[in-house]
Symmetry: C2
Subunit: 220 residues, 2 copies
DNA sequence: GTAGTATTCAACATAATTATTGAATAGTGG
DNA sequence: CCACTATTCAATAATTATGTTGAATACTAC
């Protein structure tokens, strides 16, 4: 096999991964899986696809190495195949935000309706946490929370906010965070909380940035 | 416009970017553009596509916000639209390396034929640079080199290696690096140098990792 | 075993992508 | 202004992706 052929093949392999990402529906599925593992039926409901379609999309994602599956009881549960996939999605969001005017417009339209949804800078959060002025919400999946989180943060994935709203003090501002500045889950959480009448904003960056800035981290 | 619609639209926008990446040929083009700006004809030659095809691929990349173009004299020069695109490509490579067995096989097959192409760890390079035992080659585009590089490194993009081979001392081992562990340009450089009979390896990580490890950096 | 259920498979129609060819455009250089 | 050239546009044919429906699997629970 010639060098040229091998190199072409290599790019085709990378393209295979990109092809798997090249569908709004599949990106939605990935975003939901980033919040925790899900079975086919649940994903079908969340995305509005038929079950068969959902299954087929999941096959594609699996062949591209992006998700893995395992059967537990009656259900097949799907999950992201690894952390590098979260990073890939974040990189995709970053490019979108930076280079597609439409993305910026849509994000604005959807998330920060009118008034101050400016994100909270890490320093500011730090100070207010010390004074006990805010409730910090970690909306990542439980495993990631367990591996390290902002001290005092409550772990509550977006899907659980509705049920567990009463666990959050009523009269304090809430600051939500997830994995990075382009992780949509924090946006979701803020939107959800605001819909319930709570004062909520999101942390400007995510947990990785918090950690790498040398700020305190709590484990387990 | 309902939230659901906006959110769907948002994912469609991200999918647009992924679609632009979802072709081996376009990834090749991006990889070449990562090495510096190029006109359409050059890219057509490098990829083996017809000029019209190349132009169309470039249109797609441009609509997705991944490349930008400007006319200089007779030629239209294309370049990557920003650093976030480099990071996106790196993330894609990382996922490939981690989750697709085929990628790993191909990389092995193409690059480290037979003997020790093990990468050089940063620490080891550091020591050997101090003793003047190695020639360090920075294969990134000139602009990135100017913004900071490993002390004493020679800047030489892959495309220039053939012409400028005489600038590299003959009897020393060469260590090439670029942007990160998944940046293919360092692999290319090593392959090229070895073809010319030089002893070459690549740095395990890339420059960003070198910098963030607190190792010395030279500017200009 | 049998009934029931979650998931996958297969076949189809529709729609989108790809590369090619040849023509059109726009801008340069004399 | 004219000839020339790099690039883009348009039309085509071949390939590939999408979503639907209904059937096939594989497993659970009784």
């Amino acid at each position: 096999m010639s060098n040229k052929t091998v190199k072409t093949d290599l790019f085709e392999q990378f393209a295979r991964i990109a092809k798997a990402l090249a569908s709004g529906k599949r990106l939605q599925i990935l975003e939901f899986l980033a919040q925790g593992e899900r079975n086919v039926e649940t994903l079908a409901q969340l995305t509005g696809l038929s079950i068969a379609s959902t299954s087929q999309h999941l096959q594609q994602l699996r062949q591209a190495g992006l998700v893995s599956a395992s059967k537990e009881g009656l259900y097949v549960f799907y999950r992201l195949a690894g952390d590098s996939i979260v990073r890939l999605l974040a990189a995709l969001h970053a490019v979108g935000q930076e280079h597609l005017a439409e993305v910026d417009k849509l994000v604005r339209l959807y998330y920060d309706s009118k008034d101050g949804l400016e994100p909270v800078p890490a320093k500011e959060l730090m100070q207010r946490v010390k004074k006990g002025l805010v409730t910090v919400l970690d909306v990542r999946p439980a495993e990631e929370y367990a591996a390290g989180h902002i001290p005092g943060a409550i772990n509550m994935p977006v899907s659980e906010i509705r049920k567990r709203l009463n666990e959050i003090p009523k009269e304090q501002e809430i600051v939500a965070y997830c994995r990075g500045p382009y992780c949509l889950m924090a946006f979701e959480a803020v939107a959800e909380l605001r819909k319930k009448g709570r004062a909520a904003r999101r942390l400007e960056d995510g947990f990785p940035e918090w950690r790498s800035a040398g700020l305190p981290v709590e484990i387990a």
